[in-house]
C-alpha cells in the first residue's frame, strides 16, 4: 500500500504542476489577446507575456509527458484498480461538476461584461477554457488531499 500512496502523491503533484503550467501558458496568451484588442502596451509587457507563455507551455508539455510515464508505472505495478477506486471516481465527478459550474459562471460574467465592453470571442473562449481545465484539476487534488479526518 506504500506504493499506492506514493503513486497517488506523485499524481497529485503532477496535476498541480499541469494546472499551474496551463494557467501560465493560456493566461499569458489571453493577456496577449487582450493587448491586441486594446493596442500595444509597450515592449517590457510583450516580452514578459511571451516569456511566461513559453515557460507555461514547456511546463504543460513536461507535465503531460511525466503523467504518461506515471500512467505506465501504474499499469506496470498493477495498482490502477486500487488507485482509481470509488473515492477517486467520486472526487472525479465532483471536480468535473466544479469545472462545469466555473465555466458557466465565467460565461454568465463574460456575457454581462460584453454589454459594457467590446471584446473578441477568442478572449471569452480562452478565459472559459482556462477555468474549464484549472478548476477541475485543482478541485480534484484538493479533495483527494483532504484525508477525511475532519469528519462528522
Amino acid at each position: 500500500m506504500d506504493e499506492v500512496a506514493r503513486l497517488i502523491n506523485q499524481r497529485n503533484r503532477l496535476l498541480i504542476v499541469a494546472a499551474c503550467s496551463f494557467v501560465l501558458w493560456q493566461g499569458a496568451w489571453l493577456g496577449q489577446d487582450m493587448i491586441a484588442d486594446i493596442g500595444s502596451v509597450g515592449e517590457p509587457w510583450d516580452t514578459i507575456l511571451t516569456l511566461v507563455l513559453v515557460l507555461g507551455s514547456i511546463g504543460w508539455v513536461v507535465s503531460t509527458m511525466l503523467y504518461l510515464s506515471y500512467a505506465s508505472k501504474v499499469t506496470k505495478t498493477g495498482t490502477q484498480a486500487v488507485i482509481e477506486d470509488e473515492l477517486f471516481q467520486h472526487n472525479t465527478r465532483l471536480a468535473t461538476r466544479a469545472g462545469f459550474m466555473a465555466m458557466m459562471g465565467a460565461l454568465a460574467l463574460l456575457l454581462a461584461v460584453d454589454t459594457f465592453i467590446d471584446f473578441s470571442a477568442t478572449i471569452a473562449i480562452r478565459a472559459t477554457m482556462i477555468l474549464g481545465v484549472f478548476v477541475p484539476l485543482v478541485t480534484f487534488v484538493m479533495r483527494d488531499s483532504s484525508d477525511g479526518e475532519k469528519a462528522v
Binding site: M1, V4, A5, I8, A81, V82, I83, D85, E86, L87, F88, H90, D144, D147, G148, E149, K150, A151, V152
Partner: protein, 73 residues
C-alpha cells in the same frame, strides 16, 4: 428537518479484528484514504464496497452500516 445519515461501526470492528486502515483497504482493494473517509462518514460507499467491507470484517452488512434518523422539525 435534517436528512438521515449512514452510520457505521467500521472502526469498532476493525479494532476487534486487529486490522489497520491500510490492511482493511488492501483486503477490499481500495486506498487507505477511502477506508478513512468511509469510517469518518465523509464518503458513502457503494453497495458493492459495503458488502466487501462486511465480508472482510466477518460481519453482516446491516451490523456494519446503520441508518441514523434525521430530526424532524
Amino acid at each position: 428537518m435534517s436528512a438521515d445519515q449512514l452510520g457505521n461501526r467500521i472502526k469498532e470492528l476493525r479494532a476487534r479484528h486487529n486490522y489497520t486502515q491500510a490492511q482493511l483497504a488492501e483486503a477490499v482493494g481500495v486506498t487507505r484514504k477511502t477506508i478513512n473517509t468511509v469510517e469518518n462518514r465523509v464518503f458513502i460507499p457503494s453497495t458493492v464496497l459495503a458488502l466487501k467491507l462486511a465480508a472482510a470484517l466477518k460481519s453482516p452488512v446491516e451490523e456494519l452500516f446503520y441508518l441514523e434518523r434525521g430530526t424532524d422539525s
